[in-house]
Symmetry: C2
DNA sequence: AAGTATACATAATTTTCTTATGCATAAGAA
DNA sequence: TTCTTATGCATAAGAAAATTATGTATACTT
């Protein structure tokens, strides 16, 4: 994630969330989808994305399937059953985290 | 920040924001304030906080002033003029970032 | 022919934490 | 009175997660 080196540690969660919604996606597609959703503000770098995908796969969260399209290889990733559970957990954790961050950034919210 | 190694990269912004609201604070006070605001969910470690404060000071964002209270030393930090501007910028960037993250986590928001 | 887009991957480096350690005083519990 | 917890600072070693740079390869556009 480029954008400005903010948030390190949310990339895996973003990937899991996208796969939760999409059944299967390949790496390049993920970078483009994120760029699209954030109107170009998040640019996920390959140097961050691929190691993250490989790690999630190694942990059993993702399964893969390669396809050849137009003579180019696409490696599709899908959530495993375990990956699905992990997606739920990670997204919930991140949302919780964001709520707390917002309390810090907007003190008035903390008073309610 | 303990809590779960989420968000790396937001600590300096949090510190700047707190100092924007408080005139002056010392390190230990910052850890306690964050803990209080987040109901114990963020625990800022000294190993993260002090180097961050030192760095911000070295960059001219913070000025310091030591006081002895009850025989214990407190090192108070305040925003410099430059630090005040930096606080504005960093907070705005983080908020922007959070909005984008929320679009990713809650796709329905992205469609509006 | 050169540049951009698509598509994967890895290595070196940097940033930013966590964990561990160290020093020191004060207050409360056992 | 001794041990633990709280207050208060600081730094060093190690880990985690990015960035940046590099490499390979095909396809499309200028």
């Amino acid at each position: 994630m480029s954008s400005s080196k903010l948030l390190k540690g949310s990339l895996a969660t973003i990937v899991l969330k996208l796969l939760e919604e999409n059944e299967k996606m390949y790496g390049y597609e993920i970078t483009q989808r994120v760029k699209e959703i954030t109107a170009g503000e998040f640019k996920i770098t390959e140097g961050a994305l691929y190691p993250t995908l490989h790690k999630l796969e190694a942990e059993g969260m993702l399964s893969t399937e390669t396809q050849k399209v137009d003579n180019r290889i696409r490696k599709y990733y899908s959530l495993t059953k375990e990956g699905n559970a992990e997606a739920q957990t990670k997204v919930a954790e991140l949302e919780e985290f964001l709520l707390n961050l917002q309390k810090l950034l907007n003190p008035k919210l903390g008073m309610g």
